[in-house]
Amino acid sequence: MLRFTSDDPAVSGGTAYFILRSIMPATQTAAETELAELIIAAVNLEGVRPTDIDAEAPLFGAGLGLDSIDALEIALEVSRRYGLQLRSDDADNRRIFASLRSLAAYIQLHRQPRS
């Protein structure tokens, strides 16, 4: 793996920050790890461990490579586990699904108590 230091003239401030972030993924809370396990199981992400998922990295598109069908699968599983509905036409979806962290936070705010 290539290593850059921040005083290397080839590296801009922004790039150094990105590489630093991917070397040290944001630490997950317990709720985020639980959600990561749910996601991996729901979309059959082979060979990915829950702690491999960077809590602040984008969930969709590049990286994990999830798409709109995966989003529906995750929404279904979230609904079963936490009792809240996630609609594909919700205008806030971009923000809610932006990262593991944002999705976990949304679930914490809106989850229904188990009956």
């Binding site: 709109s68 529906l72 594909s88």
Partner: protein, 394 residues
């Protein structure tokens, strides 16, 4: 290509039994869609359910009892409407049973029977014997059933390419006839309501909780419907003709169309090209128009770019619902009726068109002299099929 003559056709759908019932509903702007009463669990949506299909008059005769299922019942009802079986018997007499091919379209065939079989696993001895008939539980159960019901012995298969299934059957018919492999073809599509598609499309969040509003600014998804549609094609014998067809793939995504409608555009060009006609000559387009956000956006774009303002276009799914594997043939039949009567259906339920619609997409019904009409079918899995029909008034 050399045109094929459409010498008989019939339809059973939410508007009832036969072409007259369908035409009357279209003209009266009477929507037969009802709130979903098909599924055991609550699923808020509207459906196009064939009224009275469970009635005794549609029971299958004893020799066809092994095929009992909602789908085959619906096929049986379709065959016995508008004297279609009489027309086929006439063709059999003219050409011989071996010279009549049969190409059917469906998406789920008799899956309702397989669903029922699984439900009976809670109490296996309660399983009705006919549900153990292995062939019932295949996509070709439709083709095989219709072949038996009509006594046909020519080449026969069932196409299952989702929403384009019973449009593609017309292309197969043209090739079979042109190469001299048969002298007549029965084509069509049958898809009945079933739990698989209702819960399935619900899981994809593609179902509208209201009656569907094709091309509306506030559209919220599709309504499912069921239908049986049959067409008899021969080399001559009718002024109503198949003039062209176009088939392409989107190669983009299983459940979303190509965002620029490349495949749709090419299919339209192919259909026109095969007939040697131009877009400006088309007077009516029966759109796929499912009322999903993505299909309608792409289809509206393609139509606006390819056709002049004078071309009338509409989606009739507000009357019938989306009948999936039957849609291609059902909507071809609506196009036939437009060519034969000059009645041009508009678009039901929609109050305000989305701004990306061009002037072609109409809400109101109209009357005119229609000689050339197009029918679009754009399927799940990216399969596109466009059909061009005309009236030879010579």
């Amino acid at each position: 290509m050399r045109p094929l003559a459409i010498t008989a056709y019939t339809v059973v759908c939410a508007t009832g039994y036969g072409k007259n019932a369908l035409l009357a509903a279209l003209q009266d702007r009477r929507a037969p869609l009802i709130p979903n009463d098909f599924t055991a669990e609550s699923l808020p949506t509207w459906i196009g359910r064939v009224p009275g299909l469970e009635g005794e008059q549609w029971n299958l005769p004893a020799e066809l009892a092994p095929w009992e299922s909602r789908n085959n019942r619906l096929a049986w009802a379709g065959l016995h409407t508008d004297d279609f079986t009489t027309a086929v018997a006439g063709a059999r007499h003219r050409h011989g049973a071996r010279r009549i091919a049969l190409v059917m379209g469906t998406s789920t065939a008799a899956i309702d029977a397989t669903e029922a079989f699984y439900r009976h696993q809670a109490d296996p001895p309660s399983t009705p014997p006919h549900l153990r008939q292995g062939e019932l539980h295949t996509p070709h159960s439709l083709g095989h059933f219709v072949q038996s019901a009509l006594g046909l012995e020519g080449p026969c298969f069932t196409i299952a390419t989702a929403c384009s299934s019973s449009a593609k059957v017309f292309g197969q018919a043209e090739r079979l006839m042109r190469l001299g492999l048969c002298d007549a073809v029965v084509v069509g599509g049958v898809d009945s309501l079933c739990n698989s598609v209702l819960y399935g499309f619900a899981s994809l969040q593609l179902l509208s909780p209201d009656p569907c509003r094709p091309f509306a600014v506030d559209r919220r998804g599709l309504n499912l419907g069921e239908a049986a549609a049959f067409v008899l094609l021969e080399r001559s014998g009718s002024e109503l003709q198949l003039l062209g067809y176009g088939e392409t793939s989107d190669a983009h995504h299983m459940s979303a169309p190509h965002p620029e409608g490349l495949g749709a555009r090419q299919a339209i060009e192919q259909a026109l090209g095969r007939a040697g006609r131009r877009a400006q000559e088309v007077q009516y387009i029966n759109l796929h128009g499912t009322a999903t956000p993505k299909n309608d956006a792409v289809e509206a774009l393609v139509v606006a770019q390819m056709f002049p303002a004078a071309t009338r276009a509409s989606s009739t799914k507000g009357w019938t619902g989306h009948t999936l594997g039957a849609a291609g043939s059902l909507e071809a039949i609506i196009t036939f009726m437009t060519l034969q009567t000059g009645f041009i259906p508009g678009t039901l339920n929609t109050r305000e068109l989305d701004q990306m619609c061009g002037p072609q997409i109409r809400l109101d019904n109209a009357q005119g002299d229609v000689q050339l009409a197009l029918s679009n079918s754009f399927g799940f899995g990216g399969s596109n099929c466009v059909l061009l029909f005309g009236r030879d008034s010579r």
